[in-house]
Amino acid sequence: MNEVFFNVDAGYLEGIVRGYRDGLITAPQYLNLTQCETMDDLKLQLATTDYASFLQNEPSPLATSTLSARCTEALVAEFQYMQQNAAEPISKFLDYITYGYMIDNVILLITGTLHERDTHDLLEKCHPLGFFDTMPALCVATTVQDLYSTVLVDSPLAGYFRECLSAEDLNELNIEIIRNTLYKAYLEDFYSYCQTLGEPTASVMAELLNFEADRRTVNITINSFGTELSKDERAKLYPRLGNMYPEAQTKLARVDDMDQVKAILEQYSEYKSMLIGVSMNVSSSSSGGNNAELSLEDRFFAREVQLNKDSFEQQFHFGVFYSWLRLKEQEIRNIVWIAECISQQQKDKINNYTAIY
């Protein structure tokens, strides 16, 4: 029955988002971009894309940071247009998408507060998608305790804070651990929310979020090698969902090196293919094979793009909004990567981006 009434509320937005999807840069366009010799050429090529209006007023020596900022602006403008036109279940869903950015912003502000920085400067650095009404009020708070009791309680993130952190934790724990704990709570919450939305959305989002959870699990494992993070703490940061939950996660919590991670990942067919040809050793890839060798991170990106593309194959679900945002983010990363390669004259690595269409 879902499909029958889907278009009543979501038809317009779905049309919009599919239109946006067609605006994504395609392979021939990427080919043109990679052929550029200077940043001006690149700007000219981008004039045929959706970014044109955001770049046209930029003065000529275009810095990659400006490019990245403008592209993000374009993304935000499109997303906010959808948010403004959204009705109930979709607006809630879109809000959920922004919570991830909110976490980053709040963490940024907490870091600033802990180091007694001027929080007004920090607001400019915040991701616009993660902006919430009470966020400027964070600047008023001077201690972390204040921050929580006056501002965060009213924000959508309050639940995540309440569940996993006490006020003392905010002072003592490493800020990265807080970030990952919050993100874990957010993923779990988002997942359970998606399950309430009924069928096509639930299954499509389940797949995407499971992948996201798995990726985080693997990354946290790999990145915590040789750090002060204990294995128990590591296990606490794994999101309690994903294809690898719980069996492989308990194993990953105990591993000490890449080879063991590899052995565990090989039990999963979808990740086994990813591991072929991936150099698991960071140091060897930095010294020896500097060529087109892809890192595990790149494989994850490719896989993410694939999954997000797949979600467009189905209709009558909200997953397309999430997928579109992820694809668009990947596209911005690609453009910035190409711009960096051009401005730093490292043309041999220019093709290391993850093409979308």
């Binding site: 940024l108 920085r117 990354n219 990145n223 930095s286 991170e297 990363r333 960096e340």
Partner: protein
Amino acid sequence: MAAVRDNVFPTRMNLTVTKARLKGAQTGHSLLKRKSEALTTRFRVIVRKIEDAKLKMGKVMQNASFSLAEVAYITGDISYQVRESAKRATFKVSAKQENVSGVLLPAFEPDMQAGSQFELTGLGRGGQQIQKARAVYIKAVETLVELASLQTAFVILDEVIKLTNRRVNAIEYVIIPRIENTISYINSELDEQDREEFYRLKKIQGKKKDRAAAAAAAQNELDELAKLSIQDGNLHSEIGLSEDQSAARNILAEQVDEDIIF
């Protein structure tokens, strides 16, 4: 130039002193020359090293900024997190001094401290790339420190070499010729004095001779006169005087004679 000399009084004493100075200047010259050669050798080595380090730096810096671009691709902007989580410096530069032929050259040494404060940055995504970028940047900073130490040595050595060469040239072309001029001046003056003295002595001797000759001539005249008077006496005695008178006269004549000869 050739006429320049020290304003000294031309005496034998000053000649000895000036000769000692010449000796000192020559020793100093050869020492300074050797110092300047040693410094120049060192300088060449440093110039070569600087060239290598600069080429290396270009490559390393390119690598480093590219690895940062990789981090940006995967993680996004991490600069703020990294800045805030850095509490103490892990990379310090200590300066020590190196002695090259009496010149103190500062040498900078990187001093790494183990551990990093932001090892958890990018835990959820891109941590490996961040650590890699960190390693690459540490290498870049090491190269920069090396280059800084070489450049400082380069500047200082350059200065010192110029100074030393100036001194060498000053000694070679100004001081030594001046001392030599002084010596030859003193020598010529002394010779002149010698000649004058010699002439003076000759002159005195000549005068003395003249005077002696004049005296001798006067004596002869007296003798002649005496002889003449004796002959007169003889004539008188022949005319009419006694023997005693003539004998007494004779003795007197003899006495006069002796006196005059003296």
